[in-house]
């Protein structure tokens, strides 16, 4: 059992030297055998540990005092090479720090390492990374999920108690489910995206991985809030999100838990068994199970791969070999600098999504694809609004299967896209979602239960998640 972030912070606030936990995390990160870590930030981390020690000695009490944290390789961290898992950003040393990371550091957290990820967060298995696949600490022949697979694996392997990922279509919740960690995608706009290397800007949201719900709640509490540098960030009162119920009854009694019956179709048997068990235990704990429908959810993947790739084709146009990153050595003209640098720097999946995104945005196809997808998106939002008139939270699986084998789905992009079937609608609707570990399948592989709540109700989501966590024990 890994020490929680809260435990470390309490010790450091009581006078323990933050260098101890930081040095231990750095040593574990260097000894990482799962390809979860891209690079460690030794000097920066040790200097930050000393700064935290001084602040505590001066009387400050910090919510994340001395807590070692790993962050996904798509979050800017001043002075550290940040590459979004891509060759095209090789050599890019971030000149500034992302707001979410800055807020963690201000609360006493120490960034010890950056983590492996699918290239530009485009993948569901962490196999599109320029650094090679991450291995799932639960079973190294299997993938950890993606795209934040390195952050999930770093927490699952006990390297750090807390890690940051980003979630555009499930990239926090699906790997959390597959590695047996807690993964939270907050309400869209809760956490500033400033300094996050953008993929699909209307979908992207930064969130934490942790070993329990309370640590994720604490991280969200620290990171959330309006940031003038991200115009979509929201000034929203999240309430007392750190104040979680400590008994199943306090969390769940009378809570209306919606579920979509259609979700049970096509589930791996081990996942279905855990879902049924979760429902039984919820009922026993006094929750009220309510069948609901999300009639347009089955169109979410199709809408997502239009919207996300359209946004990505625009966002990724900035990587052109001029101002930073990889530049081709064989160009005779400026156009060739752009075209060859991008072809050499971007991997297969990124090129595929740029071409698809360019297609759906091009003249003659915009209305048929991009506009249509945004109309379907509104139908999905309306579905959620209807469902949440009947229930307080939604329960379902985070992933249709447990962790699959390395290489199992790489030859068929569409098959890979379908592994995000339960997580994508969340991003289209902007609602918060979380995956909480709930037992294992017949092979001992972790199963995650997903909860979703209405926009801005992250506190309700976390309280229910704390209840599920208590029921899983």
């Amino acid at each position: 059992m890994t020490t929680t972030a809260r435990h470390i912070a309490a010790a450091v606030n009581a006078g323990a030297n933050p260098r101890t936990a930081v040095a231990e995390a750095l040593a574990k990160a260097k000894a990482d055998t799962h390809n979860a870590i891209v690079r460690t930030c030794d000097e920066r981390a040790l200097a930050a540990a000393d700064a935290v020690a001084k602040r505590v000695a001066a009387g400050e009490r910090l919510p994340l005092a001395g807590v070692p944290v790993a962050i996904k390789d798509n979050l800017n961290l001043a002075g550290i090479e940040v590459t979004a898992g891509s060759k095209i950003l090789k050599g890019y040393v971030a000149p500034y720090t992302a707001t979410a990371v800055e807020r963690l550091e201000a609360a006493g957290a120490i960034i010890v390492a950056t983590t492996n990820m699918d290239e530009f967060a485009m993948g569901s298995s962490n196999e599109t990374s320029a650094y090679g696949p991450v291995k799932n600490p639960v079973d190294p022949t299997r993938i950890p999920g993606g795209s934040s697979g390195g952050s999930a694996a770093a927490v699952a392997a006990g390297i750090v108690p807390l890690a940051l990922g980003s979630d555009t279509g499930g990239s926090i919740r699906q790997p959390a489910s597959l590695t047996g960690t807690v993964g939270l995608k907050p309400t869209y706009g809760s956490v500033s995206r400033y300094g996050l290397i953008a993929y699909g800007s209307s979908l992207d949201q930064i969130g934490p991985f942790s070993t329990d719900v309370a640590d994720s709640a604490l991280a969200l509490q620290v990171m959330a809030g309006k940031d003038p540098r991200d115009s979509t960030s929201a000034d929203r009162d999240l309430g007392a999100i750190g104040n979680l119920p400590t008994t199943p009854a306090a969390a769940l009694k009378g809570l209306r838990v919606g579920f979509v019956a259609a979700h049970e179709e096509g589930l791996a048997p081990g996942v279905r068994a855990r879902l049924q068990e979760a429902k039984q235990r919820l009922t026993a704990a006094g929750a009220v199970l309510v069948p609901v429908t999300l009639p347009h959810e089955r169109f979410a993947i199709a809408a997502y791969y239009i919207i996300a790739t359209g946004e990505a084709s625009s966002n990724l146009s900035r990587f052109d070999g001029i101002r930073y990153g990889h530049r081709t050595e064989t160009a005779d003209s400026l156009a060739q600098v752009y075209g060859k640098s991008r072809a050499e720097g971007f991997g297969t999946e990124v090129q595929r999504r740029i071409i698809l995104g360019t297609y759906v945005l091009s003249t003659g196809y915009y209305d048929a694809y991009y506009k249509k997808a945004q109309q379907v998106r509104r139908k999905i939002v309306d579905d959620y609004a209807n469902a949440f008139t009947q229930c307080d939270v939604l329960l379902g699986p985070a992933s249709p299967t447990t962790a699959f084998k390395v290489g199992e789905k790489t030859s068929d992009p569409l098959q890979m896209y379908l592994s995000d079937i339960f997580t994508i609608a969340t991003n289209l609707a902007g609602v918060p979602g979380i995956s909480v570990p709930f037992g294992t399948d017949e092979q001992g592989l972790p199963v995650g239960m997903q909860l979703q709540a209405p926009i801005g109700n992250d506190q309700r989501l976390l309280a229910a998640a704390a209840g599920i966590e208590l029921l899983s024990r």
Partner: protein, 95 residues
Amino acid sequence: MITDDNVRHLAKLASLHLDDATVTRLRGDLESIVGYVEQLSQVDTTGVEPLFNVSGAVNVTRADVPGPLIPTPQVLALAPARNEVAILVPKVVER
């Protein structure tokens, strides 16, 4: 029906210098993915306003106040080709 030439045109729009084998592979991928997303035509969206961003924000502005900037030498240092004062690119204007 998507042709190799369609993909070449998209690659040009996206500034991706692709070889013929990649063009053909991407054509196959694009056909299969576009075939999948065609299912959206089953949804009746008559009169439905497209939803581009759930935040509902439109044209957010802020006060035009200068803030701290990243120092020029630090910005220049990131460029793959540069001299002391500028980022270098191949010549774009003929004499």
